[in-house]
Subunit: 227 residues, 2 copies
């Protein structure tokens, strides 16, 4: 989340003259629009993100906003591209493919755990016209193919890891007391498991232990596909 | 989704006498409230689910609704319990634990893929006071412990599978054209992978291929934990 009033102010050029009866228009940058949209989604949810609310938050007229973005879908694409550009794909194309996948998965989860209201919409967003997203998929596909994953298994492999990543991002966001109040006689096996998980939390947060288990299992699963 | 006007009508008893100046109150069943809440969430999203909108949809006064549910959180709990009661846990306690896990994971995904707007809220909902949910966790924990998964790994195992399930539920919901328009020279490896995935779709839908890969990898990962 890089939005801040200062950032917005520095990139917004005040109008030279204000025409009577019309709201002021300002020179907007798409980066500022993205900042403001991410900020608005964090505070008001994806439903709270409307072109009208965005214009209000940027202190510009809706018409000024429409000079830069055609629709809410367009704003969503900007947010997706911003988030994906924060995901670490630097491991691909150099070094072991499984290490690159691990780095990718953990950073992907960390980025989206800070923007969970966007997961339901970005998870189902067509990737055409999203160059950073395509770039990411290209980096992953290229390494998986070079490693020897059969072509027909590459997209399912990516989707399986993304599914784990998106689900786990919600888990990072879950309150620490999500399993509280379960230590009764009603669910004895689960109570024992919870106590053991809590004791293990001294070494590793619960959500990290679960995600680590999931990522390592998926990477082993991919190794089993190698031809 | 079991809500229908007929179902609601059959369970709603019309008042014998209507007092002047007050909205009619009706005898409500918590099942009807759950039906209406699920229906409203499907059409209006979780943000659209308010006690006022729910009362309107049920054609009762807000005060009548408050006789049955204390808050939106309470309604959410009803919806969670309804959905979890549709998840197949019948494999636990009889037969091989991995087969039971497989059945559980697939049915869990199928149930939530029809109610994706609830995933972000249910994924982070404390489980205390949710007896069906606790019952489900107890069934899974008991089988995992009996199979030989160390106690400290049971909760992480459940959370890893749930993460995959929740992420995959969104993927079921994704439009079939989610990867369309990517077959350019811009992302050659991804284009080859997509073409191969599309050819394989004749035998198995894309989202099932990805989920199958994920579930089988996680089950193998759990087997590696067995003591």
């Amino acid at each position: 989340m890089v939005s801040s009033p200062d950032l917005l102010r520095s990139a917004v050029v005040p109008p030279k003259a204000r025409r009577r009866g019309r709201p002021p228009t300002r020179v907007l940058h798409r980066d500022c629009i993205t900042d403001a949209a991410l900020s608005l989604t964090t505070s008001a949810g994806y439903e709270g993100l409307t072109v009208a609310a965005l214009a209000r938050n940027l202190d510009v007229a809706k018409s000024a906003l429409y000079n830069h973005v055609a629709s809410k879908q367009d704003v969503l694409r900007l947010m997706e591209e911003r988030l994906i550009s924060q995901v670490d794909v630097a491991g691909f194309g150099c070094g072991p493919w499984d290490e690159a996948m691990r780095r990718w998965a953990w950073s992907y989860r960390d980025v989206f755990s800070k923007h969970t209201p966007l997961i339901p919409v970005i998870a189902v967003l067509p990737v055409a016209d999203a160059p950073r997203t395509l770039e990411m998929y290209e980096a992953v596909s290229s390494d998986l193919a070079a490693a020897g994953i059969p072509n027909s298994k590459i997209v399912p492999s990516i989707v399986a890891i993304e599914s784990l990543v998106f689900g786990a991002a919600f888990d990072v966001d879950a309150p620490p007391d999500v399993f509280d109040g379960c230590l009764g006689g009603f669910s004895p096996s689960f109570a024992v498991a919870l106590q053991a998980a809590r004791a293990a939390e001294i070494e590793e947060p619960r959500h990290d232990a679960a995600f680590n288990l999931g990522v390592e299992a998926l990477l082993e699963g991919l190794k089993a596909l190698l031809t």
